[in-house]
């Protein structure tokens, strides 16, 4: 063990048996969440009201639509990574763990796709 490099010690440890990349992406998406959620909060506070007309007009603008889609991707990715760790740490039966991870993927990808479609439909002007 004395001659191991730190990266060798990291590899293969933990309940997922890998982790440095996962850990880094969790932090990269956290930075995305930080920037984009500050944008969303400032926007919500800055809008004169939160009626359909005001909010839909605001969200249909190219910069708002892009930022909202990026916010959805960053937060859903971050949530997926966090809940994956939760499942790996607390579900010890491999069948249950697999089912929970599959359900997590379905929920997160489905929600993310619906949210992106909703923003796009506003931005492209078609009432869905």
């Amino acid at each position: 063990m004395a001659h191991d490099t730190p990266i060798k010690r990291v590899r293969g440890l933990g309940s997922a048996h890998h982790g440095a990349h996962h850990w880094l992406v969790q932090r990269f998406t956290a930075i995305g969440n930080l920037v984009l959620s500050i944008w969303l909060i400032a926007s919500i506070i800055g809008l004169p009201d939160l009626s359909y007309a005001t909010v839909s007009k605001w969200l249909a603008q190219p910069v708002s639509a892009t930022a909202m889609i990026l916010l959805v991707i960053s937060t859903f990715w971050h949530a997926r990574l966090g809940l994956q760790v939760l499942i790996e740490d607390y579900l010890h039966n491999s069948g249950t763990k697999f089912a929970a991870l599959a359900a997590l993927n379905l929920a997160v990808i489905g929600g993310c796709a619906f949210a992106i479609f909703s923003v796009a439909s506003l931005a492209f002007g078609g009432a869905a």
């Binding site: 932090r27 956290a30 969440n33 930080l34 959620s37 909060i41 919500i44 506070i45 004169p48 009201d49 939160l50 009626s51 359909y52 007309a53 909010v55 839909s56 969200l59 909202m68 959805v72 937060t75 859903f76 949530a79 966090g82 809940l83 929920a107 929600g111 619906f114 949210a115 479609f117 909703s118 923003v119 439909s121 506003l122 009432a127 869905a128």
Partner: protein
């Protein structure tokens, strides 16, 4: 809580895409008493997660491990989160 927050975000975006009639239904639900309880709770959870995340960014770079510093920020982070939540709602409700 994060999943509930994302669900309400998606619901909001879906309500916008569904048109004015459904958006009215959505904002009616969200501005009811239980709706406000949910939204205030979610914003509090959001700001707590945000402050805790920022605290862990500092810990990740290897700073702030001295016992006193660590203790101060572990107590201050959730308190700042409550202040941020209160400030956010003060600005929203004073529109």
């Amino acid at each position: 809580m994060a999943l509930v927050g994302l669900f309400v975000l998606v619901w909001w975006l879906g309500a916008l895409a569904s048109g004015p009639a459904y958006y009215e239904t959505f904002s009616g639900l969200m501005t009811s008493i239980p709706g406000y309880v949910v939204l205030v709770g979610l914003s509090w959870a959001f700001f707590t997660h945000l402050m805790s995340g920022l605290r862990h960014f500092v810990l990740d770079i290897g700073a702030g491990y001295e016992l006193n510093t660590n203790k101060v920020w572990s107590i201050a982070s959730p308190l700042i989160a409550i202040l941020l939540t209160a400030g956010f709602w003060a600005l929203i409700l004073n529109k």
